[in-house]
């Protein structure tokens, strides 16, 4: 034993600001390109999902109640922390099968994307809300409002940018999220949880689950306390079924792909219109 024994990482879930193992006790092996075992990641159960949704619900109102400026700074902080952990992420992405170059590009996109969404938080109202010129003595204002708890199907091969491309706009928009990562993204998701935990994102606002994508997403769309699901990374063969299952609770769904434009972040917002009389005599 001349060489130092490396301390291997345990890849856990991120729920309510903590890093639990799956309550089921199950893990899932992740292998590198040469099929060597790299790690076991936690394999989230239905109860883990329930706990994550509960944590998200509990945290959401306070998160939405923060000023948009404050949410913007916290999302920006994600980019800052990410920048400082590039090497770790690059290594994990390479284990997941990316080339160094692709991994670096993925991180560039993730960091720059986080900055992009950070700056959106306090622009939404002016871009998508406003005063409506109704034909009567009323002030009529449409505001954009958060949807609540959003479930995010992160793409298997999206790496860090694939996850943050959904997480950041949803957070900037004032929602709490349950991000579900499967496949090779599972490896980075645990580390991403550490980034979120150290970026001033309040406990419960962002939750990350790894496990069987299709099963987790099914439980997610069936959960009556989930307001919206982004099915970007849903397995193609389960997509129609998941869409159909949103009917039961009329859960909103989208597949934004994290594309950087107003339409994406508005998928994480709704519109509320308030009327008030505006005349005294």
């Amino acid at each position: 034993m001349s060489e130092r024994v490396e301390v291997a990482k345990t890849y856990k879930l991120f729920i309510g600001g903590a890093f639990p193992r799956s309550e089921s006790g199950r893990t899932h092996p992740v292998r590198d390109r040469r099929d060597r075992l790299v790690a076991h990641v936690a394999w989230a159960s239905r109860k883990d999902l329930r706990d994550a949704v509960r944590a998200a619900r509990a945290a959401q109102a306070a998160w939405a109640g923060r000023t948009a400026y404050n949410r913007a700074q916290i999302v920006y902080r994600i980019a800052e922390v990410l920048e400082g952990r590039r090497d770790q992420f690059e290594a994990e992405l390479r284990v997941g099968g990316m080339t160094s170059r692709a991994a670096r590009a993925n991180l560039d996109a993730a960091i720059d994307g986080s900055v992009y969404w950070a700056g959106f938080a306090d622009k939404l109202e002016q871009l998508a809300g406003g005063v409506n010129p109704v034909a009567g003595p009323f002030l009529n204002v449409s505001q954009t409002i958060p949807l609540g708890v959003c479930g995010l199907a992160c793409p298997d091969d999206g790496g860090v940018s694939g996850m943050l491309g959904l997480v950041c706009p949803a957070l900037a928009a004032g929602n709490a999220v349950v991000a579900v990562a499967g496949g090779r993204s599972a490896l980075v998701s645990s580390t991403l949880g550490e980034v979120l935990a150290t970026s001033d994102v309040p406990a419960g606002v962002a939750n990350v689950l790894t496990g069987d994508h299709a099963a987790l997403l099914g439980w997610l769309v069936d959960h009556a306390d989930v307001d919206m699901v982004d099915l970007t990374g849903a397995p193609a063969d389960s997509r129609a079924d998941l869409e159909a299952r949103t009917a039961e609770n009329l859960t909103r769904w989208a597949a934004t792909g994290g594309a950087e434009h107003l339409g994406t972040i508005m998928e994480f917002r709704d519109v509320r219109t308030v009327w008030h009389p505006a005349r005294i005599l």
């Binding site: 406003g130 409506n132 109704v134 009529n140 449409s142 009329l250």
Partner: protein, 497 residues
């Protein structure tokens, strides 16, 4: 002057005055044909299988006309006609010309406003005052408002390029037949789509008359097609592979079915569904105006309003006062002939809806609620139901949770803002809410915390073409009206991509 007047001449005159003599709007302005066909590709035709439905005047039960009932083959023909128009004359029309045609349609509707109002009242049972003062003017406003968007769609969403979707299927309810038709058609056409419109089976006539105006205005054939029929017709439209988008207004149950049917097909969908609107009155409210808001909120259009304020929540400190005033106000409501210009509450739209309302109220009594109805009766003939107040409500009763869609108001009290919000939000729905208070900060806090797409503060049941309307939760998704409403009818792609 403080003496109680004896029942002298003046007193008798007062009584004679206050018992308003009948003042019926003339129905001769409307010519109802015995039969109506489907409007497909600019021509009227019977259903392929010859099926018809009969539409009646719910205030008498008398038949008004037989209307074609479209089957799958007819829907297919309508979608094909819409597609031809989309690929042809309508797709080629300049945005400016689309605008001008819509402006003209709005004007034609204004010209014939009285005719539309009378027909709406005859076919649907709503009071002529409402058809005249609300439905028809708002329908015209929707057409006029959206007309101006047709050549300005590059401004619809910042940074997004806007294109039409194609053929749009629109399924509308029976409570505001003309208004819903205009509400749906206007943005769809302004955005360059063509339409297959499915009116409700109990009130199809004004949509068919509107289709005549569309033709008169000079829209190319096939831009607007009308397939009358019941649920099966709507289902055929939803199932048709040629539609790019479905817009549905109706019940939550049917809306969920449509969502399932469209899963995985890439068809756009907006749903305007049911509601169980909370109407919250604080003790500092302008009480008399709040009473008017409550009355309008639940008795407007016989309560056949998805955003009706059907759950009254009153702060305990004024609950007694509010209830006393509300009961007195309800005594004044004139229920009867919808064509009478002084009628406040008209006929229930259909016999089946009347039965449903009765079942709800009977069930409430069985569950221990108390029911109050005004002393004036309702007409024997036709479908009428009196304005109804349900008290001693706990919140778990069926009548407090499900949408009655009738002139029935449940009442509960609350003590604090938090309690009011929690009670208001304790529902699957999230369409509308009302708040009455003279305190500005309370309005803003309540609006922020209520789960509702529309919040009326110190007013209720206000609608406008420029104002986005739509719900959260199980009241549906998507907005109609205003700039936001355009998004449902546009294919938006980022300009810089």
């Amino acid at each position: 002057m403080a003496t109680t007047p004896s029942r002298d001449v003046a007193a008798r005159l007062g009584e004679a005055f206050a018992d308003y003599a009948p003042s019926a709007e003339g129905r001769d302005i409307v010519t109802i044909r015995p039969e109506y066909g489907l409007v497909i590709g600019g021509a009227e035709r019977p259903a392929a299988d010859g099926a018809t439905i009969t539409t009646i005047d719910p205030s008498t039960g008398d038949a008004l006309a037989r209307v074609a009932e479209a089957g799958a083959a007819d829907v297919d023909a309508a979608v094909a006609a819409a597609r031809r128009a989309y690929d042809g004359a309508w797709g080629a029309a300049s945005p400016r010309d689309r605008a001008k045609l819509l402006f003209r349609l709005a004007r034609l509707l204004q010209d014939r406003a009285r005719e539309f109002a009378v027909l709406e009242t005859l076919d649907g049972g709503k009071p002529i005052r409402e058809a005249r003062d609300v439905d028809v003017p708002l329908a015209a406003q929707h057409l006029f408002y959206h007309a101006g968007w047709a050549d300005k769609l590059e401004y619809a969403v910042p940074g997004m390029r806007a294109r039409a979707l194609g053929v749009v299927g629109q399924i509308i309810p029976w409570n505001f037949p003309l208004l819903m038709a205009a509400w749906k058609l206007a943005p769809a056409l302004a955005c360059g789509n063509t339409v297959v419109l499915k009116p409700a089976e109990t009130s199809p006539l004004t949509a068919l008359l509107l289709a005549e105006l569309v033709d008169e205005a000079g829209f190319p054939p096939g831009v607007v097609n009308v397939v009358t029929g019941a649920g099966a017709t709507g289902a055929a439209l939803v199932d048709h592979p040629g539609v790019a988008k479905i817009a549905f207004t109706g019940s939550t149950a049917v809306g969920k079915g449509i969502r399932r049917a469209l899963a995985g097909r890439g068809v756009r969908l907006t749903l305007e569904l049911g509601g169980k609107g909370a109407h919250i009155v604080f003790d500092d409210a302008a009480i008399d105006q709040a009473i008017e808001g409550i009355v309008d909120g639940i008795f407007f259009n016989q309560g056949h309003v998805c955003c009706a304020g059907s759950r009254l929540l009153v702060q305990e400190t004024v609950a007694g006062d509010v209830m006393e005033r509300l009961r007195a106000r309800m005594e004044l409501l004139r229920v009867g002939d919808p064509l009478d210009k002084n009628t406040d509450v008209g006929a229930i739209n259909s016999h089946s809806q009347l039965v449903r309302i009765r079942e709800f109220v009977d069930g409430a009594v069985e569950e221990g609620c108390a029911v109050h109805q005004p002393s004036r009766g309702v007409p024997d003939a036709g479908f009428f139901y009196p304005p109804t107040l349900v008290t001693d409500v706990g919140g778990s009763e069926r009548i407090a949770r499900e949408e009655v869609f009738g002139p029935v108001l449940t009442v509960q009290s609350f003590r604090t803002e938090r309690e009011a919000v929690d009670r208001a939000n304790s529902t699957r729905y999230g369409l509308s809410a009302g708040v009455w208070t003279e305190k500005g900060a309370r309005i803003l806090w309540m609006a922020d915390n209520l789960h509702a797409g529309v919040v009326w503060a110190n007013t209720f049941n206000r609608f406008d073409a420029a104002s986005p309307f739509g719900g959260v939760r199980e009241s549906g998704f998507g907005r109609e009206g205003g700039r936001h409403g355009l998004e449902a009818y546009l294919d938006l792609t980022p300009v810089r991509a």
